[in-house]
Symmetry: C2
Subunit: 355 residues, 2 copies
Amino acid sequence: MEDYPQHSNPEERSKHLNPNLRRRSPRSLRPEDYLRGIRSGDRPMLSRAITLIESTHPEHRELAQEIIEACLQLPPTSTVRIGITGAPGVGKSTFIDSFGQYLLEQGRRPAVLAIDPSSRISGGSILGDKTRMETLSRDPRVFIRPSPAGESLGGVAQKTRESILLCETAGFDTIIVETVGVGQSETTVRALVDIFLLLLQPGAGDELQGIKRGIMEMADLLAVNKSEGEAGEAARQTQRAYQNAVHLLAPQTSGWAVKVLRCSALTREGLAELWQLMTDFCTFTRENGFWERNRREQARHWLHQSLTDHLQQLFYQHPAVQKEIPLLEEAVSSGRLSPFRAAQQLIRLFIEPKP
Amino acid sequence: MEDYPQHSNPEERSKHLNPNLRRRSPRSLRPEDYLRGIRSGDRPMLSRAITLIESTHPEHRELAQEIIEACLQLPPTSTVRIGITGAPGVGKSTFIDSFGQYLLEQGRRPAVLAIDPSSRISGGSILGDKTRMETLSRDPRVFIRPSPAGESLGGVAQKTRESILLCETAGFDTIIVETVGVGQSETTVRALVDIFLLLLQPGAGDELQGIKRGIMEMADLLAVNKSEGEAGEAARQTQRAYQNAVHLLAPQTSGWAVKVLRCSALTREGLAELWQLMTDFCTFTRENGFWERNRREQARHWLHQSLTDHLQQLFYQHPAVQKEIPLLEEAVSSGRLSPFRAAQQLIRLFIEPKP
């Protein structure tokens, strides 16, 4: 079982560091080295720190947390976190490639992270292939990081949240979080970002009903991508259809009136308007207090998420539990014992004081 | 904190029953009374037992578990559990109303349960209104139970699983579990049933891509409902479109070749064919071992689900945790402490021996 240092004062805390961490070879880095590197814009250092976040090794995780705590002690910076979703084929990567360049021209410093949980049945990696954002990935001013592989959605999202913080400490002020359109991931990404953009494509207006509704309800902005050239009329129809549909939804808790617009990643039409709307959204929600309230609620959400993860880990690592689980799994799967009763018995092993 | 009796032998167990349960008034019922009532087809007794399952009161839950354990000791009966999903508007209730009657005519004894988690934003009850299945709900041979309200999806599903067992003990041999089409609930219902039916409607063929894919991949059977009269041609087109799409999906782990057919809840065309396919599916998967393996894996899944629930409950009821949570929530939501670190501190309070 891990030893959990409790001291939030950094000096006090360093005394309680894992001894393995203190006995570093001269070449290994301390949290303050990472912090200095990240703050000075050292890109490989940022990448290394995110790799620590993504690591499953307890020492790496501990070091990552030291870095994160150090970042939290810095004065907060003004950043915007943008979630982008859309059905497969809607052109998310091309859009981000193009929108990211527009942001650069506006003097923003974008970073792109991805949430890509493997679907329960089909699986599949989305941003694993960086080269999908061809122009952006070649620009040294931009930071792009694919989703960590082999993790649950919750796990990916926790790590993404921590990566956002590191990117912001490194001076990136516009964090784009890309999600794949598979239902649950949108809810998770919504809890990571300030603004949520749903990308559509021309002619997709028939799909207003059904499963998409929940995702529409989460969106602050909708943009019909691929609106260039001959698709213009279809795009306008789609825009109208969604604009009507949006009116029928429950009002946003932010008080913001959801907007639907058209854009083209190819010709870059509509990108300026979209960015203007995002800026308007930021101003509006900062003024009415929603922005701050939302970020606070998100932090609380991730605390409870983190608690669940910690608890599970602790439980399944417990020797008596590990020993007994196979027997009770067998009793349950053969129908001799109810899952509830078996769970009670295992929990009892977990909470009973060790002899 | 609850006391968890560990004894699976009923006599041994009864000595450890909650003393409040043993000191029952003469009018209150013992587990064996419930069991006798349920087995003899006493409908109000079945309803009462399900109400115990749905109760949040520890004594009711304990009594419910006694009843469930007693049911598990009985010889298993041959039943089939059918999950039914489909987008809103596809006619799920009318279909179940009609299909349930067909089942009755075939000598089956159907029970209908619902999984209706409130959507995170919009909420809403689906089967709360029993009268939606007008004919079926008036038939004394059928048992219909709406979804318990105010629960998480996981909570609803656990209770539904236990309700299925009670219904089967009461002699119902065809359990229909209805789900609302909102993404996550399908995955959960899939873990409760033997067969999963996706209802479609004519003309919905354009929506093959995107979010529905994951749900299509879970379905063993697809039926284009509302295929009567003028909709016939559109229904045939939809059937073809989905039949083609189904070929592109990864093969089912059951080895079953997914079928798409047309039906009409109104004229009852196609219901016989659908039931025949369901029977074929049962025979096929019973013979190749998937049926049994699937039920065993489901039981194991619910054990781990139940463990998560128990752990959370135990944790959040811990006095030191309860005292400290508000302070740490504040530290996290004001950005002074990371969720991970706060979780570590709370977990430490939880696992430290009481002074």
